[in-house]
Symmetry: C2
Subunit: 207 residues, 2 copies
DNA sequence: AATATTTTAAAACAGTTGTTTAATTATTAA
DNA sequence: TTAATAATTAAACAACTGTTTTAAAATATT
């Protein structure tokens, strides 16, 4: 029964798997246009035509990878955003912990987020659906109710911008910032942010 | 003497100018790889070979545009960052005013900033030089002295990340955010930020 | 007006790139 | 084992892309 899976774990990765790993790496790093099918084949160490054999076209493969990425980006976050037991501050703390870990492990994600998720250009349904999801989450309701209760004097979207900016932007400017302090320190800086961001958001709310 | 300039102003844009305008638009929007020389020629409404005639190669033209962009991004900012008369808060206020206006007028800039300026991959000297400049500015000194004076309990780079994040990130997620509130409201939200950001930064410092 | 120079245009070139084909090898099912 | 199916490979194709060439038209210079 579980033979196949065990075999997979023991033996070399299957061709399909190798293509996926290579494609994920190169597509996420360079984007669609800058990625050549031959680059993927070389990186995966397989024959060129196997890419089309397994995934029919470059575009199909790209969408596959993008869906994979966006799922990884949101799978853990959905339950957090909609957990009615968590206060806003607790949610922010959880989000900070989760995303900082995730982005430290996936240095290519920030650019992907900007170019595929935040950019309106993406036609991939999995991405547009996630955007909707966030907007109707319990988290969004909590942020908006801050205004309704008169606890903030500015538009709630401003707060969402700040939270996301504090979370994602450092990774976009990683090369810039890790040039200031020692590059190795970037990780420490990000670890510190896990606890700092909730405090800063609180300060902004009370400003 | 001024004949030529006046002619330029009165008459149609020169071919060189038309290419520059088209190239700036397409390169900034789509990036290097996704931009085809034929796209530029079509957009500029000129013959294909004129692109190479005036700029020798696609790569040369790209660098030309990138330098143009980065200059526009920093020309006004240098004096602000190094103005020893301005307090940190005043500098932040000036920066917010300037960058919010600039990015509202140039919707393509945010992606360019992420992919060319913040990304370490850029080999364009004009960009790397600017990075150095910021790090040694009076502004940077002021931020770092906050820590020396014990006014903040975290690393000064954290504050720089937050300031830049609050400034740039909303424009990166423009499509996302303008989907929440009415799209037309995005401009108003950004206008509000001009005054809000200095307050928020203050709140973060005092947190 | 005649000549030289600059600018524009069309076509072609050479290299790249996504994809397909056809043949071979490996695997599975009978 | 044998037949059928799946996986892999090398080669080729056709469209695309950056660049060059060659010639014509426009402009400037003498």
């Amino acid at each position: 029964m579980a033979k196949k899976k065990e075999q997979k774990a023991e033996h070399d990765a299957s061709t399909e798997e190798k293509i996926l790993v290579a494609a994920k790496k190169i597509f996420t790093q360079r984007g669609y246009e800058a990625t050549k099918v031959r680059d993927i084949a070389t990186e995966a160490d397989i024959n060129l035509s196997l890419v089309n054999y397994y995934f029919r076209s470059k575009e199909k493969l790209f969408e596959h990878i993008m869906v994979e990425n966006v799922n990884k980006l949101f799978e853990k976050v959905g339950p957090i955003l909609n957990d009615e037991q968590l206060s806003l501050r607790e949610k922010i703390s959880e989000l900070a912990n989760h995303y900082i870990d995730l982005l430290l492990e996936n240095p290519d994600f920030p650019k992907f987020i900007v170019n595929e998720v935040l950019s309106g250009s993406s036609k991939i349904p999995a991405i547009t659906a996630r955007r909707e999801f966030i907007l109707h989450s319990h988290f969004a309701k909590q942020v908006f109710s801050l205004q309704a209760e008169g606890k903030i004097k500015f538009h709630p979207v401003q707060l969402m911008m700040n939270i996301m900016g504090m979370l994602f932007f450092p990774f976009l400017g990683q090369n810039l910032f890790s040039h200031i302090s020692a590059p190795a320190n970037f990780r420490e800086l990000m670890e510190s942010r896990k606890k700092l961001i909730p405090v800063w958001v609180e300060a902004i709310i009370n400003s």
